[in-house]
Symmetry: C2
Subunit: 191 residues, 2 copies
Amino acid sequence: MGQKGDALRQRIIAAADQLFYEQGYENTSFSDIANAVNISRGNFYFYFKSKNDILSAVLSARLDDVRAMLEEWETLYPAPKLRIIHYIDILTTNQSNVTKHGCPIGSLCTELVKLSHDMQSQATSIFALFCHWLTAQFFQLGQKRNARRLAMHLLARGQGIASIANAFNDAKFLQREVKSLKIWLDEVTQD
Amino acid sequence: MGQKGDALRQRIIAAADQLFYEQGYENTSFSDIANAVNISRGNFYFYFKSKNDILSAVLSARLDDVRAMLEEWETLYPAPKLRIIHYIDILTTNQSNVTKHGCPIGSLCTELVKLSHDMQSQATSIFALFCHWLTAQFFQLGQKRNARRLAMHLLARGQGIASIANAFNDAKFLQREVKSLKIWLDEVTQD
DNA sequence: GTCTATATAATGATAGAC
DNA sequence: GTCTATCATTATATAGAC
């Protein structure tokens, strides 16, 4: 495959990713994606031969991105607690997008479950990656027995914050809850 | 309008409600709803002339149901704390549905926001009703200043639990989190 | 009130020219 | 690689017979 083709392929994935996030998966048509990158529908099918294909590519890209981000955090921040704080801060860093469109992974999982979609497990595997990584961080913090429980709790708290901030379009609520989440982290890690 | 017509209208609303919950709003067609109540598509249009109409009817019915439920709780349970516990227990009472399909209101809000749908505000108003009612309960418990904050926090916790329980199809997680939510309620209300 | 057509638009997907 | 048809299917919605 040529270099130009690869670049276009990446652009298509990026455009589809964004559109799935903003408008939802089912509500996004091939025309929408093709228009976003200024190609014809026919050309689109040269790169992805079905809607399953493009969704799978988007999910793979997201999984890779998350994996790369977590690995980068492992090298950048030596303290597990600092890493968890960075995880929590995803909400504030992306606060505009979160209030407008919710959590990219959570909202897609919700949709795919309702569609009984084949790629459902591929979507939840991104959650599983976060969960696994958070469990490791809590474990390193000495919470050997409760590590997984704390990880899932934190995951759920983040989803709840994103859902309500999105439904009410309320960024202040998001900020308030992030603060309370960090207080929770302090309480949980000091002993 | 005749009595039979009214009854059928209610049956259509109930069927649409269930299908929207199980498969999502956009993914549910008129044929799906018509089939569920064994009528033709043409007859369907006699009762609801657009998809907006049936969605609006479903949302109105849900709002009425929630309002009736909360009013019933007000008379059944004299203590505000007991009422809040009953609110939390919605998750365990409907645990099978929640793990299979998520929160009926939350997942619909998520979808309608992405569709930029007109009925979006009608959907969030159900959240707002819960939020208003919970605020009143916390206020009666003496949390005059933090009542609204606690109400929104509880709302978000519930959404997070439903989202993760749904994504991972994990009822045990739901039960665990409900317990931790009741402990939180104890901590918050004792002073 | 209930039904059978039918109109119309959009979607996922394919074939084939260049 | 990129494009222009084009097909088959489905969806919302309407018209009109009974």
